[in-house]
């Protein structure tokens, strides 16, 4: 239910032209936990951004959750992201001046839910990631692992079809990294979400259903991951 | 100052912020300068009239109470009086709708050059004034305001006396601030007689020059004593005292102006401090690296402080230029205002310019100290760990 057909992305850096993606075609089915892997500059982050509706391809077609993203305006893309996409970032990117619950509630403000509903959902999401007791704490009062879990709660709270994660374990130590990867896999399974992750972390291979390798903007191959077996 | 290019480069990192800060400080300095022209106008008047041998004699009850014209001769005949002239308020209007826009007086032409030698009116012009009954000598302030030149014809309609008088400007009082319009007493006297009324038998005030400063005090008591039991009692005072009294009324207004000026100056401190602290905060990591490379704390402090001072001085220069331009506009647009008097001359003196620049410089230094000190003191290792 994520499909890109012959997608290329070229952008200008001063006088140079950078070919970030070259004619990539890819399909990820619903409910799968996929990883995009490759060395620096391989285009994996660019591809992720295009899938998430954060960026537009220079050519090619992008279809996510039945929606053609090419045709949407900036504001329409924003609305699309609000409803259909959840985000997890490498540096957590929580709002420092809001507490955990308020951070998780943030995407819900873009929906029509009333105050009570929003609160319930946020608390539920926090409970699912195991941080119900940290609801009132600010990000600077939590460890890296806890912050990322709050971020994951935030990503899932609107019940989006897809969740994208950009190097979610990049800033975590080994123990936390494994916990986060497991959490992502479990949530994908339990709620039937499509999760696409960009990562350097070789540990990720054990958790995902499929791995897509990129290098220099080109899709090299797609193989099954360890998660498929579990 | 080999670090000057380095400091300058720091300021041009964020050109917008530098421009906004310099602009804000510039505006504040402009304001301070413009506001300061008001009390400066008053001070200038008081110090300019530094003549210590000029006395004014007026009715003790008030300036609006006249004195008999015969007093002038009696005063002239006192020993020690070099020369004396009388001033009588005419209150003529040039543009009827605007009312009295500049003070105008009737005066005897002959003694002017002697009593007011320090006004430096051209002797040639005084000669013309003596010769032509309808002549007028006008202060440069009023000449500029109305765009008049020597030779122009001007008519004033009387408001106190029911006559209109036509004049030819024959001379000027070469003082930017002077609004005065002087004409011959004889002229008014004749016009009144021609109208069937009696002549001008009163005068407003008598101004006289004394030969020796030591004689001033005794002469003043002598004159007042002379008229003590007459129908019009006089009060003599020195010129300085006269003007000081005249403007004592404006003291309250000046106080408010000074308070407002102080507030605006304080504003500058906060603007500069804000920018300095933001700039430093953003460069914490970079500063730590510099320290690691071997820049001493003192050097860091000095360069950061210099940056703040340079920036606010830039603002100061802009402000001073702005003040000069704006006061030019103000002078063109307003005239002699009875509510303001000398406060409304809006002339930016050199002293004010210097004060404005120093304010900016001083403020820059003051506001930059705390952030610069903070940055210089921070531990390098701690900072690097935090940031990188």
């Amino acid at each position: 239910m994520i499909e890109v057909r012959d997608v290329s992305r070229v952008y200008r850096r001063g006088a140079d032209e950078v070919h970030a993606l070259e004619h990539v075609s890819l399909r990820i089915e619903r409910g799968r936990f996929a990883a995009l892997m490759g060395p620096s500059g391989s285009g994996k982050s660019t591809l992720l951004n295009i899938l998430a509706g954060l960026d537009r391809p220079t050519s090619g077609v992008v279809e996510v959750a039945g929606q053609r993203l090419n045709d949407l305006s900036e504001d329409q893309l924003a609305a699309f992201r609000a409803r259909h996409v959840g985000f997890v970032f490498q540096f957590f990117n929580l709002i420092p001046v809001l507490n955990a619950r308020a951070n998780v509630e943030l995407p819900l403000l873009l929906t029509r839910l009333g105050k009570a509903d929003r609160r319930t959902r946020a608390e539920t999401a926090l409970r699912i990631v195991g941080l119900a007791d940290r609801a009132m704490h600010k990000p600077n009062e939590m460890s890296g692992g806890e912050q990322q879990r709050v971020a994951i709660a935030r990503a899932f709270v609107t019940d989006p079809e897809i969740v994208v994660a950009d190097e979610p374990t990049g800033d975590l130590d080994a123990k936390n990294a494994v916990e986060i990867l497991a959490l992502l896999r479990d949530l994908a399974r339990e709620f039937g979400k499509t999760v696409v992750m960009v990562t350097h972390d070789p540990r990720g291979e054990a958790f995902v259903d499929e791995i897509h390798h990129l290098d220099k903007g080109v899709l090299l191959d797609s193989i099954a991951g360890g998660g498929a077996a579990a | 100052m080999k670090f000057l290019p380095f400091i300058w480069r720091q300021l041009s990192r964020n050109k917008l912020r530098t421009a906004l800060t310099a602009g804000a400080i510039g505006l504040a300095v402009s304001l301070v300068c413009i506001l300061l022209t008001m009390p400066a106008g008053m001070d200038a008047l008081l110090t300019q009239v530094a003549s210590n041998t000029r006395i004014v004699v007026h009715n003790e009850a008030g300036l609006v109470y006249p004195l008999p014209y015969s007093y002038l001769q009696k005063i002239r005949s006192q020993p020690g009086v070099v020369s004396a002239a009388s001033w009588t308020w005419f209150g003529g209007v040039f543009r009827e709708e605007k009312g009295v826009e500049f003070p105008n007086f009737a005066i005897e032409p002959e003694p002017i050059g002697s009593v007011w030698a320090d006004w430096k009116i051209e002797p040639q012009q005084l000669e013309e004034f003596r010769r032509y009954r309808d002549g007028a000598i006008v202060g440069r302030g009023t000449l500029n305001k109305n765009g008049w030149k020597i030779g122009d014809l001007v008519t004033l309609k009387g408001t106190v006396y029911p006559v209109d008088l036509a004049f030819r400007i024959v001379g000027e009082i070469p003082n930017e601030r002077s609004p005065i319009f002087l004409f011959q007493r004889e002229y008014l006297d004749q016009a009144l007689r021609a109208g069937g009324r009696g002549g001008l038998d009163i005068l407003g005030t008598v101004w006289l020059r004394v030969d020796d400063p030591a004689r001033v005090a005794p002469l003043m008591s002598q004159i007042d004593e002379m008229f003590r039991n007459s129908e019009a009692v006089t009060a003599s005072e020195t010129e300085k005292s006269y003007f000081a009294n005249f403007f004592s009324m404006l003291q309250g207004f000046v106080t408010v102006i000074l308070i407002v000026t102080g507030l605006v100056a304080l504003c500058i401190v906060f603007i500069a401090a804000n920018t300095a602290s933001m700039a430093v905060r953003e460069r914490i990591g970079e500063i730590a690296v510099l320290k690691a490379l071997g820049f001493s704390r003192r050097l860091i402090f000095t360069t950061l402080l210099s940056e703040a001072v340079l920036l606010s001085t830039l603002g100061g220069v802009l402000g001073v230029l702005g003040a000069l331009a704006l006061t030019q506009l103000l002078r063109a647009g307003s005239g002699w205002n009875p509510a303001l008097g000398p406060l409304g001359s809006f002339i930016v003196t050199q002293a004010i310019l210097v004060q404005g620049l120093f304010l900016a410089l001083f403020v820059g230094m003051l506001s930059g100290v705390v952030p610069a000190l903070g940055a210089a003191r921070r531990s390098v290792a701690e900072t690097l760990r935090e940031v990188l």
């Binding site: 873009l110 | 009850a61 300036l63 309609k157 009387g158 207004f253 906060f270 953003e282």
Partner: protein, 391 residues
């Protein structure tokens, strides 16, 4: 829309920056409000004087009360004109007056011209906003005087029970009057004949004030007075006359507006600076919000709220300080003196009024809006992926 807590939280998080910016705006508000209320107090005093139903009659060509002369016969015939109001006993409400400007000594040793108005008892009926608040009205030919509230306490001997020295004589102060803050409060009133004798005026009156009867045509009455061939007179409604006198205050308005504009622009620059820095330091956060799906409008609104809260804080502090400072200065100086066109002293009480506060609020809001709009727009224009890219 983003929660207000987000905007407020960010302001609280960067306290130094927020407080310094609030301080700048507060100072600008204090400065402009103080100066502005000085001028509006002056104007209120000057313009507030003047009763709509009164005509002021001066000699033709005279620009003010102090430089005019009216013959006795003129008064005697004018008061019986049609249209002039009458009191219960049938006496015309026409007040003959003499204005003189003698020296008074201030408590601080200075010397000022004060407007002394010679009147008859009927003046209290024609100028009906004048009310005796202490003591009583003077008795004619008794060497007595009443003083306006602005005068009392400013000059030596100006209190009820004391003796005032001016002109050629001594005058016992028997009463004090208020007049709704108008310029009459800066005057001293005495018996007109005594004043004329003291000032040696052969023609005793300088002007007349006439109350038009209910329903009478004031214009017609004024025209009749102006057209009377026997005397060269000029009658105009009091408000129009005082409006003209207030024109000197108008020049001061330019200064106030100029001050507000220059200071306001300076404050705008200050606010813009602060907000740009905020936008810069919150790049990643803004990118996150955009990624989550918040629209550009939501971002703009949130930053504008930050800007407006700062501006409002500046207004609240500045307005309070201005009001306090105004009271303090006015009390300490005993009122602030201005020169009137009559070359006398108008003592005004510096009061920060509702309109001054409204102006201050408007100024603060403009600073907030204009100062915040450019940084807010920049925040909104950020493309999410660029914002998220950690340099």
């Amino acid at each position: 829309m983003l929660p207000i807590r987000y905007a407020l939280g960010n302001l609280a998080a960067r306290r130094t920056r927020t407080l310094l910016t609030v301080a700048v705006i507060a100072l600008v508000v204090v400065a402009t409000t103080l100066f502005g209320s000085l001028v509006s107090s002056l104007r209120r005093t000057l313009v507030g004087t003047g009763n709509e139903r009164n005509l002021i009659v001066l000699r033709k060509g005279a620009t003010n009360d102090g430089s005019s002369v009216i013959p006795l016969e003129a008064f005697q015939s004018l008061r019986f004109f049609d249209g002039v109001a009458r009191d219960a006993a049938g006496n015309p409400l026409a007040s003959p007056e003499l204005v003189v400007q003698p020296f008074f000594r201030t408590a601080g040793g200075g010397r000022e011209n004060v407007l002394v108005r010679g009147v008859e008892a009927v003046a209290l009926q024609v100028h009906d906003e004048v009310a005796i608040v202490e003591g009583r009205m003077f008795h004619p030919s008794s060497g007595e005087a009443i003083v306006g509230s602005g005068v009392a306490g400013r000059y030596v001997g100006a209190k009820v029970g004391d003796t005032l020295d001016f002109g050629r004589g001594h005058w016992r102060v028997v009463g004090r009057f208020d007049s709704n803050g108008s310029s009459f409060e800066s005057e001293v009133w005495v018996d007109v004949r005594e004043l004329a004798a003291d000032a040696k005026r052969s023609i005793p009156y300088s002007g007349l004030r006439i109350r038009a009867a209910e329903g009478a045509d004031m214009d017609a009455l004024a025209r009749r007075i102006n057209d009377d061939p026997r005397y060269a007179l000029d009658a105009s409604p009091e408000p129009a006359y005082y409006e003209k006198q207030a024109e000197s205050a108008n020049a001061l308005y330019f200064i106030v507006v100029g001050l507000a504009v220059l200071a306001g622009i300076g404050a705008i620059f200050g606010a813009t600076n602060t907000l740009y820095a905020a936008v810069q330091s919150r790049r990643a956060e803004i990118g996150t919000l955009r990624a989550l799906g918040f629209s550009r409008t939501a971002i703009v609104v949130s930053f504008l709220i930050e800007s407006l809260v700062i501006a409002f804080g500046g207004f609240a502090i500045g307005a309070t300080l201005a009001a306090l400072l105004g009271r303090l200065v006015s009390w300490w100086l005993g009122g602030i003196a201005f020169g009137a066109a009559t070359f006398t002293t108008n003592v005004i009480q510096l009061r920060v009024g509702a309109s001054d506060l409204a102006n201050a609020l408007a100024l603060a809001l403009v600073i907030g809006l204009v100062g915040g709009i450019a940084p807010a727009a920049r925040a909104a224009r950020m493309r999410p992926i660029e914002a998220l890219r950690r340099a």
